[in-house]
């Protein structure tokens, strides 16, 4: 311990520990253990001009679709382990299976499978930025269409 009283050695030790910490943190960031997937099911229609206040954060993205009314039907988040998958129940007897595939450059590749009853409707693999989202829409529902916002964040 006497050696540690020498400033240059302390500085060297401090630097090495800092670099080690950064290296460990960097590695940990590249290898997330879980992905939090959030599915927001929204009913888009032209039956009114109502815009659900809870969808404020998605307003600009939803306005792209040119419907007059947007209402949040369901909001569900699940932690999905690495190489695992989870099924989300979607209004209208549909379900959405989400499986994280790959993490690279702060982006997540998600395999998404939409089924209606037992029928597969859509299989897609989408690569999104960490904490980013994409929109999946089109299935008819209650006089409008169902719009899903699918977002993912590394844990």
């Amino acid at each position: 311990m006497k050696l540690l009283k020498k400033a240059p050695l302390r500085v060297l030790l401090f630097s090495l520990l800092s670099m080690l910490a950064v290296a460990v943190t960097g590695t940990a960031q590249k290898q997330p253990q879980n992905v939090e997937v959030r599915i927001r099911a929204i009913l888009a229609s032209n039956q009114s001009d109502e815009f659900d206040a809870s969808l404020k954060g998605l307003e600009k993205q939803l306005r792209v679709l040119k419907y007059r009314s947007y209402r949040l039907l369901n909001d569900e988040s699940q932690n999905i382990p690495r190489n695992g998958n989870k099924v989300f129940e979607i209004p209208g007897g549909r379900s959405l299976m989400v499986a994280p595939q790959e993490f690279q450059d702060n982006r997540i590749a998600l395999l998404v499978r939409l089924t209606g009853g037992q029928k597969p409707l859509l299989d897609t693999t989408v690569r999104i930025a960490n904490k980013g989202n994409f929109i999946l829409g089109g299935p008819p529902h209650e006089g409008g269409v169902l719009v899903l916002s699918i977002s993912a964040a590394m844990q």
């Binding site: 800092s18 993205q61 679709l65 982006r107 029928k119 859509l122 999104i128 960490n130 994409f134 829409g137």
Partner: protein, 177 residues
């Protein structure tokens, strides 16, 4: 001169004025009594005198003016700004402090990089998603990328024929994007 070999070095030092008063006095007494050392002293004094004469005469022939002018130029020369900055840095940050500053700067840079990476993650909320594969099992699909909001939309046009769950619902037309 027997046993006086060590005195020669003392005589050289004495001639150069590098002996103390007591040592000089002791050496003088010895040289007065020792013919060998007295002779050595005479030879060394002659050598010193010759060398001094030669150096003085040669020095008179040397033109020292260019040398002094160069010295004066160096003295009057305006120091570049970076020299002043370096001197200021040395004053503010001595080597011991600088040893701490270097790792601190490294840590700050790494923190900056991490923050930028975190920020990019947050900003990714609006970053484009890229569709790598898509299979709608024979149905029509539209893919839209809206640049202002950086939104990626996959739109599934469900065919009403044969779609039991959809047949019960009124079929709206697709969005006008």
């Amino acid at each position: 001169m027997n046993g006086c070999e060590d005195k020669i070095a003392s005589i050289e030092l004495w001639l150069d004025g590098e002996l103390s008063g007591a040592e000089s006095e002791s050496l003088r007494v010895h040289m007065a009594a020792c013919a060998g050392c007295s002779e050595a002293r005479r030879r060394l004094e002659k050598l010193q005198s010759t060398l001094t004469g030669v150096l003085l005469s040669e020095a008179q022939r040397v033109d020292f003016m260019p040398f002094w002018r160069a010295v004066q130029l160096r003295v009057n020369e305006k120091r570049p700004w970076y020299q002043d900055a370096l001197d200021w840095m040395r004053g503010v940050l001595p080597a011991s402090r600088l040893a701490w500053v270097v790792p601190a700067v490294i840590v700050l840079l790494l923190a900056g990089v991490s923050l930028e990476s975190y920020w990019r993650g947050g900003a990714g909320r609006n970053a484009f998603a890229t569709v790598e594969s898509i299979d709608a099992y024979g149905r029509n699909v539209a893919l839209l990328r809206e640049y202002d909001t950086k939104t990626t939309v996959i739109w599934l046009y469900q065919d009403q024929e044969g779609e039991n769950e959809a047949a019960e619902e009124s079929a709206p037309s697709g969005p006008a994007f």
